[in-house]
C-alpha cells in the first residue's frame, strides 16, 4: 500500500462508492446551509440588537402573529429535506443488502484478531483478500468468537460479523489497487490490529493468482470430504444419492422452503444448515424424527462453511447449481451413480481436517 502523506477524501473503488459520495454531498450541502444560516443569524442578531445602553427601555415584546406560520415552515422544510436523506439512504442500503444472484462467493471467518478468507475455488488467505475487478463479490461471514465487522472504506461498505450466524456483504470493485480492510466492531485487545488489505486485480492477474494456490480443492469438495468424514452421508445419503428415508434428502433442497414438524416453515438457507448441524433438534423437518446428534464442538466455523457450500452444490430449487464449479471427486461421482452411501467417517478421518491450513502460496 503506497502510503499517502496526507489526504482528505477516501478512495472510491466500488460501484456503490459513487452513490454514497453523492448522498454525502447532498447532506453536506444541507448541513452547511443550516449551520451557516443559524450561525449567520445568531451573529447578526447579536450584533444588531446588542444592548448598548442599560437605561434604554426594552423594546416592546409584541407577540408576533406570524409565530404559528413560522413554526410550521421550519418544521416542514427540515422534515422534507431529511425525508429525502432517508429515502436516498434507504435505496442505497437496499442495493448494499441484496447481493446480485451470480456474485462470486468468498467466505470470511473472523477470529480474534484475524480475518480468515476462503475462496470458493479453494484458495485461502489471511488478512488479505484478492479479487478481480468489475465482478460482484459476495462475502458470507461468520465469527469464531466475538463480534467483528468487515470494513473496506474504499468500498464504502461494512457489515458486522457475528458468532453463531451468517451475515452477508457484497461489493463490486471498480478500481485496481490496494485498499484497507478494518475490523470496525470492537473485539478486544488487538482490535486495531485486525486489519488487512484488499487487492483488486485485473481478471488475468486474478486468474494467475488463483492458479498459484488452491491445492485442497474447492470449498464444496472440501465440504464433501468433511460430510463423509463426519458420517453425515450415513443417513442423509451422499451427494446425488437417493434418499434413505430416515433423514431429509438434501439434493436440490437449498433455497427451498421446507415444512417443519411444528407446523411452521423455514427457508433452507446457509443459516438453517448451520443451525441444523449444531442444534439438529431445534427445527425438525416435517415427517422426520428427532434422531440427528449434534455436531457442536466437532466442526469448526470454517468446516461449517464448507458443509454449507457442499449442500449448496447439491443444487438449488431450480435444479441449477449455485456458483460452485461442478464438483465431483472420483468417489462421490461413483457414489452418485451407484446410489450407495459414501464411505463412513472412519475411512476418511485422515483426510485434511477442516482447520486453518493456510494457502501456502500466499503467506
Amino acid at each position: 500500500m503506497q502510503a499517502k502523506p496526507f489526504e482528505l477524501f477516501p478512495d472510491a473503488a466500488s460501484s456503490i462508492a459513487g452513490s454514497v459520495d453523492g448522498l454525502y454531498a447532498y447532506m453536506v450541502l444541507v448541513s452547511a446551509f443550516f449551520s451557516l444560516l443559524i450561525a449567520v443569524l445568531i451573529i447578526y442578531f447579536a450584533v444588531k440588537y446588542r444592548r448598548k445602553d442599560d437605561h434604554v427601555p426594552l423594546p416592546v415584546d409584541e407577540h408576533s402573529i406570524g409565530g404559528m406560520i413560522l413554526e410550521i415552515v421550519w418544521s416542514v422544510i427540515p422534515l422534507g429535506l431529511s425525508l429525502v436523506m432517508f429515502a436516498w439512504g434507504a435505496s442505497i442500503f437496499f442495493t448494499e443488502s441484496k447481493p446480485p444472484a451470480d456474485a462470486m462467493e468468498v467466505f470470511v471467518t473472523g477470529k480474534q484478531w484475524m480475518w480468515k478468507i476462503q475462496h470458493n475455488e479453494g484458495a485461502r488467505e489471511i488478512n488479505e483478500l484478492h479479487i478481480p475487478i468489475n465482478r460482484d463479490i459476495k462475502l458470507t461471514m461468520t465469527s469464531e468468537d466475538v463480534i467483528h465487522d468487515f470494513y473496506v472504506p474504499a468500498f464504502r461498505t461494512k457489515a458486522d460479523v457475528l458468532p453463531g450466524k451468517y451475515t452477508t456483504e457484497w461489493f463490486r470493485p471498480t478500481k485496481v489497487g490496494e485498499y484497507h480492510i478494518f475490523c470496525a466492531e470492537y473485539c478486544g485487545t488487538k482490535h486495531s490490529g485486525m486489519i488487512g488489505t484488499v487487492y483488486v486485480m485485473t481478471e488475468p492477474d486474478y486468474n494467475k493468482w488463483l492458479a498459484a494456490g488452491s491445492g485442497e480443492g474447492s470449498m464444496a469438495e472440501q465440504g464433501q470430504a468433511l460430510f463423509n468424514q463426519l458420517g453425515c452421508g450415513n443417513c442423509h445419503a451422499s451427494a446425488f444419492n437417493k434418499n434413505l428415508g430416515r433423514c431429509p434428502n438434501l439434493n436440490g433442497l437449498f433455497g427451498t422452503t421446507v415444512d417443519l414438524k411444528d407446523g411452521t416453515k423455514t427457508r433452507m438457507d446457509e443459516t438453517y444448515i448451520r443451525e441444523s448441524v449444531l442444534y439438529p433438534q431445534s427445527k425438525i423437518v416435517a415427517g422426520y424424527d428427532d434422531i440427528m446428534p449434534t455436531f457442536k464442538g466437532l466442526v469448526t466455523e470454517d468446516g461449517l462453511l464448507k458443509l454449507v457450500e457442499y449442500v449448496k452444490s447439491m443444487g438449488t430449487k431450480n435444479g441449477a447449481q449455485m456458483s460452485a464449479p461442478p464438483l465431483a471427486t472420483e468417489t462421490s461421482a461413483t457414489d452418485a451413480k451407484t446410489g450407495t452411501p459414501a464411505k463412513a467417517g472412519a475411512a476418511k478421518t485422515s483426510a485434511a481436517p477442516a482447520v486453518n491450513v493456510n494457502r501456502p502460496g500466499n503467506q
Binding site: Y279, Q281, S282
Partner: protein, 219 residues
C-alpha cells in the same frame, strides 16, 4: 430508616397533609412503573427466545411442576387479599385486625418463598441449573433448553428477591402497627406497601403462565 410517624406534623416543605399524601402516592406509582420496565427487560428476552426456540421452551417448561405452580399462585393471591384487607383495616382504624392481616400476609409470603425454595432445590437435584453441569433429560432441543432455565431463574429469582424485601418491610410495618402508629387519618406506609405487594402479585400472575403453562397438552 427514620420512622415516618415520628414527625408529628406535615413535613416542612409540604403545604398540607393532602399534598403530602398525594406526593407519596404518585411517587409510589412511578416507582412501580420503573419496576415494570425492570421486569420488562426480562420479558423481552423471554419472548425473543421463546419464539426462536419453541420446542426447547415447551419441553423445558414441562419440567416445572404445574400443581406446585398453581398452588403457589393461589398462596400469593391469598396474600394479596390479606394485604388488601390490611389496608382496609388500617383505614377504619382496627388495629388488631390490621396486625392480624399483616401477619397473615407475612406468613403467606413466606409460604410462597418456602415453596419456591423447594422448587429450586428440585431443579438443583435434577441438574437443571444452567451452567456446566446442566442437563435437561428428555428435553427436545436440549441445546437451547438452558436458555429457558436461565430465564426461569432470573425471573423467579428477581421476583423472589422482591418478595424478600417485601417481607422485611412487612415485619417493620407490623412493629409500627403494634406501636399504634397508624390511624385512619394517616396510614400511608401501609397503603404504599399494599401497592408494592400487589404489584409483585401481578408480576407473578404473568410469570405463572409464561413459565409453567407452555405446551402442557402433549404431556
Amino acid at each position: 430508616m427514620s420512622s415516618p410517624a415520628a414527625a408529628a406534623n406535615v413535613r416542612h416543605h409540604f403545604e398540607n397533609a393532602e399534598q403530602q399524601k398525594d406526593a407519596s402516592t404518585i411517587g409510589m406509582w412511578i416507582f412501580l412503573v420503573t419496576e415494570l420496565m425492570f421486569f420488562g427487560g426480562l420479558f423481552m428476552a423471554y419472548f425473543v427466545y421463546r419464539q426462536a426456540y419453541p420446542d426447547a421452551f415447551a419441553s423445558a417448561s414441562n419440567k416445572t411442576d404445574l400443581l406446585i405452580g398453581a398452588f403457589n399462585t393461589t398462596v400469593l393471591i391469598c396474600s394479596s387479599l390479606t394485604m388488601a384487607l390490611a389496608v382496609n383495616a388500617a383505614a377504619v382504624g382496627k388495629k388488631a385486625l390490621l396486625i392480624m392481616f399483616l401477619v397473615a400476609t407475612l406468613l403467606l409470603g413466606s409460604a410462597f418463598l418456602g415453596v419456591k425454595t423447594y422448587e429450586y432445590h428440585d431443579k438443583w437435584v435434577h441438574h437443571e441449573i444452567p451452567g456446566q453441569h446442566f442437563e435437561c433429560e428428555g428435553c427436545k432441543d436440549s441445546g437451547h433448553a438452558s436458555l429457558f432455565f436461565s430465564l426461569y431463574f432470573a425471573m423467579t429469582g428477581l421476583h423472589a428477591s422482591h418478595m424478600i424485601i417485601g417481607a422485611g418491610y412487612l415485619i417493620f410495618l407490623i412493629i409500627q402497627a403494634k406501636k399504634g402508629k397508624f390511624t385512619p387519618a394517616w396510614h400511608t406506609p401501609v397503603e404504599m406497601f399494599g401497592l408494592y405487594w400487589h404489584f409483585i402479585d401481578i408480576v407473578w400472575i404473568f410469570l405463572f403462565p409464561l413459565l409453567y403453562l407452555i405446551d402442557r397438552v402433549h404431556k
